[in-house]
Symmetry: C2
Subunit: 379 residues, 2 copies
């Protein structure tokens, strides 16, 4: 298979930009990625733009602003996996030989909706009955606490770790560290979650330049290699479902490891989809970082802190960096690339050689409307 590399990444600090258009959120990230790659905009042959709620022709609007017109631009939507799906399309396009250099954009403007939880699927009867994302993840958390004795303090510990990481990331929306006590004392959202265990709402954009191995070697001394690019959708499961097992991530991680020829023991850094505190713990297990049921202890051990065995969400993750839906997958890749290059300063995972980005999207009724997209990178 043709080698694929990342040679440029860029993003804007996630936050609230009610006065900027979607296009004006996106183009600075694209320019930053081009500059980082050291290439001209005319060298980009195609673009994939991931956005979930950005409206029609988001990629064209963004690239039109900086004169990157004429190339094939495809807008991609897979809820919270939108720009990781865009990344996968870009990787496939380069692997196929169709293009040498492809741009990936992730962008979202959630402030236009006024904040709060958005109903993902208004046609879904479970959603219209109140099973929005916080309640779904809360059920997972309740079951996990019941099965494995996870404590509220351990759950809060995910937010404490990720807010501490976010405090070291100039691109994070939430830059103030918090304590376990502060997390537990914050406003209740869906038991056991308090406000600080839910990702914030906000705006953002990120961009990634993907290219062939041959091109990468010409222009960069430190390309980051795409070792796996995987996507799965959920499988409908009638009747009893074990809510402590994130099925799509478990299946996707197996496929991705196999594609990369790597295993959990090889991973130094991971950006996983911690939309709510429990999610990160479930993903430790799905990625094989620890055994099923052991995620609380694994967190407590410090293994997932920066400097631990595998730094998880050194960017601050969705909980601290923020979660502008369509921008998240690309922003995770931005962080992993920076980590593998050793550019992360105070939040650098020492000697990071292999990294994972992981974004899930949807996943309500019977779990079958979910998507999971995983990329594995190495330096």
């Amino acid at each position: 298979m043709r080698e694929v590399a990342v040679i440029g990444v860029g993003m804007i600090p996630f936050g609230k930009y009610p006065d900027r258009s979607l296009a004006d959120l996106g183009w600075p990230a694209v320019k930053a990625a081009l500059k980082d790659a050291g290439i001209e905009r005319k060298q980009v042959e195609a673009a994939y733009c991931g956005t979930a709620l950005g409206g029609m022709m988001a990629g064209q609007r963004i690239l039109g602003k900086i004169g990157m017109t004429g190339i094939p631009i495809t807008n991609v939507e897979n809820a919270c996996s939108s720009s990781s799906t865009a990344m996968r399309q870009a990787v496939m396009a380069v692997r196929s030989g169709e293009y040498e250099v492809v741009l990936v954009i992730g962008v979202e403007k959630l402030t236009k909706f006024g904040g709060g939880t958005l109903p993902l699927e208004t046609e879904d009867w479970e959603v219209t009955q109140g099973m929005v994302m916080p309640t779904l993840y809360a059920m997972r958390a309740q079951r996990y606490m019941y099965e494995f004795g996870l404590t509220p303090q351990q759950l809060a510990g995910v937010s404490v770790k990720n807010r501490a990481n976010g405090a070291l990331n100039p691109d994070a929306q939430m830059k103030k560290p918090v304590t376990v006590e502060e997390v537990l004392a914050s406003r209740p959202i869906a038991d056991p979650f308090t406000l600080l265990q839910c990702c914030p709402t906000g705006d953002g954009a990120a961009a990634v330049i993907v290219c062939s191995g041959a091109f990468a070697r010409q222009v960069k001394s430190n390309p980051i290699w795409v070792r796996a690019s995987d996507m799965v959708s959920g499988i409908y499961t009638p009747g009893y479902r074990d809510m402590t097992i994130p099925e799509i991530t478990l299946r996707g991680s197996k496929e991705a490891y196999e594609e990369a020829g790597l295993g959990p023991e090889d991973v130094d850094v991971a950006e996983v989809h911690d939309a709510f505190s429990i999610a990160e713990l479930l993903y430790y297990e799905a990625f094989g970082f620890c055994a099923h049921g052991d995620a609380g202890h694994y967190l407590d051990s410090g293994a997932t802190k920066i400097g631990g065995k595998v730094a998880v969400n050194p960017s601050g993750g969705l909980l601290a960096k923020g979660h502008p839906i369509g921008a998240t997958g690309a922003a995770q890749i931005v962080e992993i690339v920076r980590q593998l290059r050793g550019e992360c300063g105070a939040r650098q995972q020492p000697n990071a050689r292999v990294g994972i980005s992981h974004a899930t999207g949807g996943g309500i009724t019977g779990f079958d409307h979910g998507v999971c997209s995983i990329h594995i990178f190495s330096r």
Copy 2:
């Protein structure tokens, strides 16, 4: 390059289905395409779903309804080119060797918006000043009439031809033929367009099964071959723009003919993006069916009628078959495949061997937000 074929197509009759969900519009088209291909749903390895306004996770919602879960599903948006863009992604995925069999879905439910012209880009200042699609195309028509002496009767003739074709198509939304007099006497929309020169609003879905040449030969005696799969975006043009030249279609058609190794003289049947009467005439020229400025005479000659040199929009086109935005590109492919197989009964173009589908999307400010996706097929 790896051969790619179409082995199955299906659609629901376009129309108004305010009481059906988007998923319930989509799945019958998918089942029809599977049946047409003679394959099982589990043989489909991936899906691309084109929708412009269908909301998040449209493909997952549709396929979840019929238990086609687990496979990678990517939702694609490029305004009116959404499902032709999805087709292109599917073709690229099969060409790359990643998959053998891929499903393309196009779906839209416009009745949920209550009818009328939708503002394509609410962030676009020209749109917010009233330059919506009917006015944009009206300017093109005005200029064309001024430059080349096209008459209102000739313009109306496009609707007359396409409504006559639609009357022969059980899947068309508009099944009543109309006369030139009726077209010209219908309600004014944007001068020179009357109501019957504008495509109707409605709902619909269409599906296409794309596969490798090797797979196609195993399962079908009459696969239809994908000879070209092209997409371009608009190029920003400051200052004077010649509105009688559809730049993206002209550029795209050149690329597509080159890819196919075919020319205008080879084309027997074409489904082109006749959102408004003038559009079809501009596309005769962009595809090289006639010289620039000569489209009115070419229409008058009967060359684009069924049985003529190149039957254009034998399905009825957007003007009669309807234009549920995201469904249109896939539905065009459904028609071309049926034409090339000789399955179209009363509206069959005799001995059709080569066909084109052509969908444009967007295209407002300075033309640079537009997309054009063209496919060329042969039997």
